[in-house]
Symmetry: D2
Subunit: 249 residues, 4 copies
């Protein structure tokens, strides 16, 4: 039997401390709800811990990362407080094979921009409008169990242009009541690691309690888990010998 996937739910955890609306929606913190969602979806196939911005080393010590198969990332108001050396540490682990799931306002996280190379900027509006999320890749493991579309009744709007590299695979596209569209579920590979961006999840709406969102979270964890033991090195390698004979010149 396969070992359980080791997930670390990383959370900024500052809105909850400052904003009563967020406290009411997520009294235990958003990270707890995300942790419970993943446990609910994957049961014994997963073990989940959490790590917070204000933990030592943001909770992302060498040891924690070494024991993490998939990292989820939610940040918003304090992206700048994440230390660059921790970003580098996370990046290296992704390249070595750790999956990374970046959520909602994490589009502006240092680690996301670091891996993608673009600004990751977008348009946004916060009036609690309807979002309808369409699946454009129903055979994708992340879409498993998701219908042709599902609705988030009240959402912050994110609209194109979402400044990202062309996704390797596009899974979801959002429709917003106010008139915009957005590539809401995007997959990329970097090194040996898999990267998924998933748009839903604003702090003032109960989006992480919603069944479809939880389903996608669980699917994404499974998809992003390392799937190959093949060799990979972070550094260039000098080869002395040839594999086949070379003519003298």
């Amino acid at each position: 039997m396969a070992s359980p996937i080791r997930v670390t739910v990383w959370h900024e955890h500052r809105h909850e401390l400052e904003n009563e609306v967020v406290q009411r929606v997520y009294p235990k913190g958003m990270h707890t709800v995300m942790k419970e969602a993943i446990e609910e979806q994957l049961g014994q196939d997963v073990v989940v811990r959490t790590a917070l911005l204000d933990d030592p080393e943001h909770g992302l010590t060498e040891l924690v990362l070494a024991e993490t198969d998939v990292l989820t990332w939610w940040g918003h108001m304090s992206h700048g407080d994440v230390a660059d050396e921790i970003v580098t540490r996370v990046q290296e682990r992704v390249l070595e094979g750790m999956g990374l799931i970046v959520l909602h306002s994490g589009h502006y996280a240092k680690i996301f921009k670091r891996l993608l190379g673009t600004t990751c900027s977008l348009r946004w509006r916060e009036i609690g409008e309807l979002e309808r999320i369409w699946c454009v890749n129903p055979g994708h493991p992340i879409a498993d169990g998701i219908d042709a579309c599902f609705e988030v009744p009240q959402a912050e709007m994110y609209g194109e242009l979402f400044d990202i590299p062309e996704p390797d695979e596009l899974v979801f596209v959002s429709w917003f009541e106010g008139g915009e569209v957005f590539r809401s579920g995007c997959c990329w590979r970097r090194g040996k690691g898999r990267l998924f961006y998933f748009r839903p999840g604003h702090e003032t709406y109960p989006i992480y309690y919603q069944a479809e969102v939880r389903k996608v979270l669980g699917n994404a964890v499974k998809w992003a888990a390392p799937a190959s033991s093949s060799p990979y090195e972070l550094k260039a390698k000098h080869i002395e010998e040839t594999l086949s004979p070379v003519a003298k010149r």
Copy 2:
């Protein structure tokens, strides 16, 4: 516990009947060796049957396909004998989610050209030269357990230009002793189905007995198995109602 993946190994099975060299290398037929390789790799996670060109309906009845999660395809001298209606039947099953693994000379199979839309032509030379297969995507599930490269001691050469659409993911690239290169492991998605092309496997060399090739076969079966139960329809759908209100004009 997950149900086993139901694999059908499809084989042309004509070279073995006509050519003594092939008989010596594959006395039980190439299909038997491929079947055993997949069983060896995946054990209880798989059930494998075979189907041959000269079986009724080429062994690919509606029922067989309905019970197939992943189909492997080896053909060479008799591509033209595969009935177009069976090709259409296989195509529809791929779109609905069945995985398809096309092997070696199957690059010229009707089903492969049908799904890709190009000629799938290439350069070739048959002098038993060395092939060295390099992994360019070590994090890919199909590369699991494969080293930086492996060798096939004697191979038919396939060289670029391989006339295929840009692969969604490129996993292997071959080096040939005589001077050519080839994109030897290519992934695409069509509808809900996953498609993998794997180059090694000429009928006059014992390539399907080789450990690395068998490993890739097993990995590819796991990768190509259906991974999503989300809805998909082969036909356009007329929608009467709107999901959101539309202004009168």
Copy 3:
């Protein structure tokens, strides 16, 4: 100075003969309006002719295709009347480098399905609702001169799932008033040829008179024009000699 791009505007031209609404909107036929749009956009850089379904060989003789750099395709009610041998002829010319621009209901044309390998099906609704087309790739040559979005005041709705292979490049995504989204501007390569699908263009609305749509048409013609004289062959090529020496075995 570069030679002008030779464009053939192919049109089914049946709605105009049967439907008074279409006659009023396109009294000279949709093909004439598309031809004029391309001429308006590209001036001396282009020469445009038209070809109709009911012309001999659908107007797509060997000679016409040999003299065509970019073919645009509009069909709807009579896809089945296009002869398979002409589809094959067009396909081969695309592979050899001719650009192909498939418009609106052409998503169900035989040539489009032939090149893509999927059903190309979608959802649709015809109530004249608002469409807003967003650019998701502002650096793409086809998006040149197009703002962040533009509106088509009355459109037939096409909604996801649009059953196509993952586009090599996605340029436009549509928002529909009634609640759907659609990948409206998609690029692929097949052989040496470039393929662009552009959604707008229903026969009962004056969409091909609209400035942004005409702009995109002109851009797409420039983008799809052949851009490389490098060798390409439709058939597999047997190579006798090696380029580098091969060890005896």
Copy 4:
């Protein structure tokens, strides 16, 4: 008539000052040879200047970059001496639409790693072996005029794994006499800018005098030049108004 493409050839220019072999091969400096190659290929369609690492601001002032349509980049021994703020400046210009062509050992340049998000590491060996470069995308503008393959008689070997994101388009794959393969011509888009990596070009061999290499350089400059005037912003944009009416809640 179109304005000429404004090219800046950026060069580290340190090997020439320290190494007699390099001085003999490139007595005027590699940058001069690259400049002349681009001028030779594109004539009046181009104006080329050079910029060197040891120029003030590495020759890449705000003004120079504002007047650059395509930047070519060659560096090797002194990647670490490029100031991070200049890297950021170049990155922003690429996102805004400037083309970037990274050559040979530039795979390890800060700007390349910054835009791609991976280590960009590889295997290497320097024994002057034969390289044969195969075209896998003959319809691509960068392949225009290039035959099925061409040879570099003596080259430094670069071998897979080349740790890069999946290229949007793969144009060339190299075969090396000693047994390796390499993805030698790779295209990506970042923001509005186009990025091309081209492998050939070691400082101790006269590779930039070779006709095919010069042809590719010229083609790449044309391909990478900005091709769209559509709007793009480096920063997220707050939208107050909706484009379509939103229901009260």
